[in-house]
Symmetry: C2
Subunit: 327 residues, 2 copies
């Protein structure tokens, strides 16, 4: 910047001003400085700028696993808002571990970010404390909590589970199994299960017919799960899967085994992945507004940072049950 300033015959601060707010520099000087910048191929150092201004324009985004398209969609939504405003995304992946999340949060805080976006409302106690005392805006996205750290965008997984279970009961199913995978780690799935159970219990129906599979959700696992559930508890007439991946895997397995869906067993999923709409039979599921959640979370954060007062710090995006042929 020194060199640019000298070449243009101005002071450093004038160069700095031109870069950040061209209007604050007179029309006479502008072309001279711009030419100098171009000639020297000058790229301002944002690290230095961040230190001096105490504004890093860094936003860490922490998700459980990028390979799960659900979270990739969220990050994409966040990305689309932030990048256009000059903010940078620091990406972190917890592998569904609260401890890893905690250490990521600590590490990211060292970059003095201006805000932070985390997934869900379940954190380690210490992680939560760190977030609360960090002094920066925090958005918890995806799950809706009863006492968010700060801002919160998402929907109630409990409610979604509850309503889908109610929906299945309405359709006449009476032995409904909830099947998830690693629900001790995937706490949002556990909430859906709890919602499902609550709905079944209310209606006096059996609530413990499902299972918690020991492995991350894959199509294969879904296929194995439905076989296992129907062997153990043949009376099951509907299976509500914690996510579409498992559900689609189950539908495909039923196809291979010649089991009629939904005659022999109805299947419902969660998330609203594209594949659910295309397979045969098409999957009844709960569509979650993933991209929108990411987008809204980022916008909420931007508004806060720009000092725009928010009418609310919690947005319930809701969800949508779509009935297709699998129920």
């Amino acid at each position: 910047m020194r060199e640019v300033a000298d070449l243009a015959g101005v002071s450093k601060i004038t160069v700095s001003r031109l870069l950040r707010d061209p209007d604050s520099v007179s029309k006479k000087l502008r072309p001279r400085v711009e030419a100098a910048i171009r000639e020297l191929g000058y790229v301002p150092n944002r690290i230095a700028g961040g230190l001096a201004s105490m504004h890093t324009q860094i936003i860490p985004v922490i998700v459980p696993a990028l390979t799960n398209s659900v979270f990739a969609d969220i990050v994409q939504g966040v990305h689309d808002v932030l990048l256009s405003r000059g903010y940078q995304i620091l990406l972190g992946n917890t592998n569904y571990s609260p401890d890893e999340e905690e250490s990521l949060i600590s590490a990211f805080l060292g970059w003095f970010p201006e805000g932070i976006i985390v997934t869900g409302t379940h954190h380690s106690a210490k992680g939560r404390t760190i977030l609360q005392t960090s002094g920066i805006p925090v958005v918890e996205v995806m799950g809706l909590g009863d006492q968010p750290v700060d801002m919160n965008v998402g929907f109630s997984n409990f409610q979604a589970g509850y309503e889908m279970a109610g929906f299945l009961v309405e359709r006449g199913y009476r032995s409904i199994a909830f099947v998830g995978a690693l629900m001790d780690m995937d706490l949002r799935a556990a909430e859906r299960r709890d919602g499902c159970r609550a709905a079944l219990a209310e209606r006096g129906l059996p609530e413990n017919l499902g299972m918690d599979c020991p492995g991350r959700s894959t199509l294969r696992l879904g296929g194995e799960a439905i076989v296992s559930v129907l062997e153990k508890t043949p009376e099951v007439d509907a299976v509500f899967f914690a996510n579409d991946v498992l559900a689609v895997g189950a539908i495909l397995e039923c196809g291979r085994l010649g089991w009629d869906v939904p005659e022999r067993v109805a299947i419902a999923g969660f998330n609203g992945l594209d594949i659910g709409a295309e397979i045969n039979p098409a999957l009844t599921t709960v569509i979650s507004p993933r991209y929108q959640m990411g987008y809204m979370a980022a916008e909420m954060l931007m508004n806060r940072l720009e000092g725009i007062s928010l009418d609310t710090s919690v947005i319930d995006t809701g969800f949508e049950i779509v009935e297709r042929q699998s129920t």
Copy 2:
């Protein structure tokens, strides 16, 4: 850091040393300083540290679209290497646009990253120049180019297309159509197409039976494409899709229409997504080592940064054709 130093009765630099290399501080002092750090809840400012040391430990990763699981897998691989070594990932999404890629590269360079990972070997002319003159290690991941900017990890899409076409011919198919989507943007898909054409041309078979769909790859689009191709050119006996999403969509559509796969038409895909192995009929495809490519790219970069000399700056990861029931 000043406060910590005062509290512990040492100088700033001692605190700095303890944090970066505890062994460089005497055993006597260590507990005192550590206690001070804890008591004040001190978090070192990496922005300041980066500026002073000129080592930011920042690595931008630029992909075309995170929502495409192919790239999410790559980023995951990169993440797993970098985070454990204290590096941070700055994420960028180009939407398959070389111009957006260019502007992302420029923007990221302002953070004075220590290296950069980009997708593929196709960049805008200016983007390429910027990368080359940036003075930092660059890894192009996924595609294999004849003249990489710097390091390169991936496989030849042309070769993959070529071999899959050869494979189909060997299986007896003679009217092979290549179907992709937005191949003017997805240049890697275009390379696969070109490889396919080359293989067909060599054998004197028709090479222009396919189509380039006007929209991003979705299951739906794949379904529409196969109908459209078979209507226009009923003689087609095999369709090689640019990716598994399209191919799976086609298989599902054939299922709905009662068209026998592979009797009426054989279908092949590309990437090796899980769903391809599970649907009926299971999809013949080319498996690409996505996670590994990301992992290796990051490791290569780390080695370079740590001064470990590399035996080669180009790694051909290869690919694998898996035959399943759809051909």
